[in-house]
């Protein structure tokens, strides 16, 4: 099965103009498509994730772009909106998804989420609690985790 034009086009654009790193299609199945970050996302400057290198997994359901892509962090991260399994709490990945949005937009939103954690809409409850009760200490843990887990291999 050849990939739909939409996906080829997006992949093409990401090669030239990816927000953080370049992406290419790694595997291709009849019903599902997998993008895997080759050059992973970089933590935004000024955030506790600065200088971290985070690998993401991006999986496109067969009805993409009518359904949102499924994105997951492969690198461990201490963030109130990202749980132990790397799942991300982001509205555009759920009910706010629109077919006019693109992988590029999703990556930009994830970047923004790293810059501005939102403990009021948590996915990882313990981390969110930590962020709410003692932000300074929580940020410290995030930094430590970034240092420990999010380094280039």
């Amino acid at each position: 099965m050849s990939l739909p034009k939409r996906i080829l086009k997006e992949a093409e654009r990401l090669q030239v103009d990816a927000p953080e790193g370049s992406y290419r299609i790694l595997e291709e199945y009849a019903t599902e498509m997998m993008f895997k970050g080759l050059k992973p996302a970089q933590g935004p400057d000024g955030s506790p994730f600065e200088k971290g290198i985070f690998s993401l997994e991006l999986w496109l359901p067969s009805s993409y772009p009518m359904e949102p892509p499924r994105v997951r962090f492969l690198t461990k991260i201490y963030h109130p909106n990202i749980d132990k399994l790397g799942r991300i709490c982001l509205d555009i990945l759920k009910d706010k998804w629109s077919p006019a949005l693109q992988i590029r937009t999703v990556l930009l939103s994830i970047q923004a989420l790293l810059s501005a954690p939102n403990p009021d809409d948590p996915l990882a409850n313990d981390v969110a609690e930590h962020y709410k009760s003692d932000e300074k200490a929580a940020i410290q843990v995030s930094k430590e985790w970034t240092h420990k887990f999010a380094q280039p291999a």
């Binding site: 034009k5 939409r6 629109s98 077919p99 006019a100």
Partner: protein, 535 residues
């Protein structure tokens, strides 16, 4: 058949409907009608004296709607909103759906600030706030071929091709294939019917039914309408409910308040013949048990019945900590997994006291073992008590099935008899009547056992159980008659026996139901457990 449909529904909605007869014959108040079987059998001949089933004070008022009624109800509610605000029909539909068909709320909010409400529900063009519904009215949304168009979603189309496209009032134009897939995903994938928005991110312009019908295939659009009807019924949660009958799809309207359910059992019977309870959604007639009692009992049976028998045969409780121990294998030396107590399965005494005679227990008269057995006895009493009621409950359920099977056989026999003898159709109907009566009464009996399980022991309960015993005896009697072989010679005698027995069973059911339901209204029954309220 008589024309007392206005007892339960406004005649208009069923005028000319041939289902009215079936519906009436299964009227829940039939149990209280004192017409005897003889008259009903021959009613076809008594043209001038129609049989009127009485509506008893224990019955609720309700109407049965089919899907067309539901559609026209939505239409007339939409018309009303249109005429009040001079809106277009499709816009009014979108507004009503947004407000969960709460017309009062919609009218109130819309009167306050129409522009804001239009925007909120996705009716104002997303890009320019100035364009209003007038301009929308003038240019209805239509598919349009555009040359040199490239769709921003699928990237198909080029300079020298022309593409079928569509833009909503907001002006966001995409190819028609993308719109189709978008709607299919929402409708078939997510079961959405209330609100399908524009594909542009952040644009909340809603697709009207008319637009959706232009882009999706017929079967998807039908699914959309089915979903929309379902949403309409569910939005009217308090007053409307689907009939639980298999493949029925009819909707029942009834007004009962949660507090009514402490003294009333709102049984409704659909045109398809399915009885159900409007109070607790139970799919059947659970009288005389209250909704709360029914709920408790159903839950208890789900939790216990499957395991109860097994538990009583294969497990015992640890004499020390009372956790349940399963015996596996033949060894009688039990060690409690929880408290590590070691004991003997046979006598329930301490294992240590058995000394070296591991393989045969000879301590049955021992004191410690006897005490343990007594304790076991006590905690088993509650299980046995439950099983007593449960077995009778499920026995009637099974018997009702067997009666039905028996009837299927009898029916074939009756068919034969009609063809080979001089008997007429009317003359063999008495068996059918008898089976119907037995089946209904077994349902009643079933639920008397569920109710009795929760009743306190007092003189009221004794009277209740007397009524129960009388009905049970009458039912078993009639059930026995049903098993008698049918012969042309014996038919006249059997017929009169069975008709008498059927009448007697009906009268016993009347007495039991009337007295018990009256008791609910008078708060005469006391339970040894708090009955949950369904309000």
């Amino acid at each position: 058949m008589s024309d007392d449909s206005d007892n339960y529904m406004d005649a208009a909605s069923f005028e000319g409907s041939d289902i009215v007869e079936d519906y009436q014959s299964s009227n829940p108040s039939e149990a209280f009608s004192d017409d005897d079987v003889e008259i009903e059998d021959n009613e076809a001949f008594i043209v001038n004296e129609p049989v009127k089933p009485k509506k008893s004070k224990f019955d609720v008022d309700y109407k049965v709607y089919d899907i067309n009624d539901i559609i026209s109800n939505q239409q007339s509610e939409t018309e009303q909103v249109c005429s009040i605000f001079g809106l277009q029909r499709q816009d009014a539909t979108i507004l009503l759906r947004h407000f969960g068909w709460n017309r009062e709320k919609l009218i109130e909010r819309y009167s306050e600030d129409p522009e804001r409400i239009l925007k909120q529900v996705g009716l104002a063009p997303g890009t320019s706030a100035s364009a209003q519904s007038d301009s929308r009215a003038n240019s209805p949304v239509r598919l349009k071929r555009v040359k040199g168009f490239t769709c921003e979603i699928c990237f198909t189309g080029s300079e020298d091709t022309s593409t079928q496209t569509l833009a909503l009032a907001c002006g966001h134009r995409f190819c028609s294939d993308c719109w189709k897939m978008h709607c299919e995903e929402k409708i078939s994938g997510q079961g959405e019917s209330r609100k399908i928005e524009c594909m542009q991110g952040d644009c909340q312009t809603v697709m009207s039914e008319q637009v959706i019908s232009q882009v999706v295939p017929e079967y998807i659009f039908q699914r959309y309408q089915t979903l929309a009807n379902k949403t309409y019924v569910e939005d009217n949660r308090r007053g409307l409910r689907f009939c639980p009958g298999p493949d029925c799809g009819n909707v029942i309207e009834c007004q009962v308040r949660g507090s009514d359910l402490e003294s009333l059992i709102p049984i409704v019977v659909c045109k398809c013949g399915q009885a159900s309870c409007f109070g607790c959604s139970f799919s059947g007639d659970h009288r005389p048990a209250l909704c709360g009692v029914t709920k408790l009992w159903v839950k208890k049976c789900e939790d216990d019945s499957e395991t109860a028998n097994w538990i009583s045969a294969n497990t015992k409780e640890c004499p020390r900590c009372h956790s349940t121990i399963e015996k596996n294998g033949g060894c009688n030396h039990m060690t409690c997994r929880k408290c590590r107590h070691e004991w003997c399965w046979i006598c329930m005494g301490d294992w240590s006291a058995h000394g070296t005679s591991y393989y045969n227990c000879n301590r049955f008269e021992d004191k410690s073992g006897k005490d343990a057995r007594d304790g076991q006895q006590k905690s088993r009493v509650s299980l046995e008590r439950y099983l007593h009621y449960y077995n009778r409950f499920s026995n009637h359920e099974q018997s009702a099935r067997l009666d039905q099977e028996l009837y299927a056989k009898t029916e074939r026999k009756m068919d034969e008899m009609q063809r080979s003898t001089s008997l007429t159709w009317i003359e063999v109907q008495f068996v059918k009547k008898a089976v119907e009566t037995v089946t209904k009464c077994r349902m009643t009996l079933k639920w008397t056992y569920a109710m009795a399980y929760y009743l306190d022991r007092n003189s009221m309960t004794e009277l209740f159980e007397d009524n129960q015993a009388d009905l049970e005896k009458a039912v078993e009697n009639l059930s026995e008659l049903l098993e008698k072989p049918l012969d042309v010679e014996t038919i006249p005698e059997l017929r009169s026996q069975m008709q008498n027995a059927t009448n007697y069973v009906k009268s016993r059911q009347n007495i039991l139901l009337e007295d018990t339901l009256q008791g609910h209204m008078e708060d005469r029954w006391s339970y040894h457990i708090t009955i949950p309220s369904l309000a």
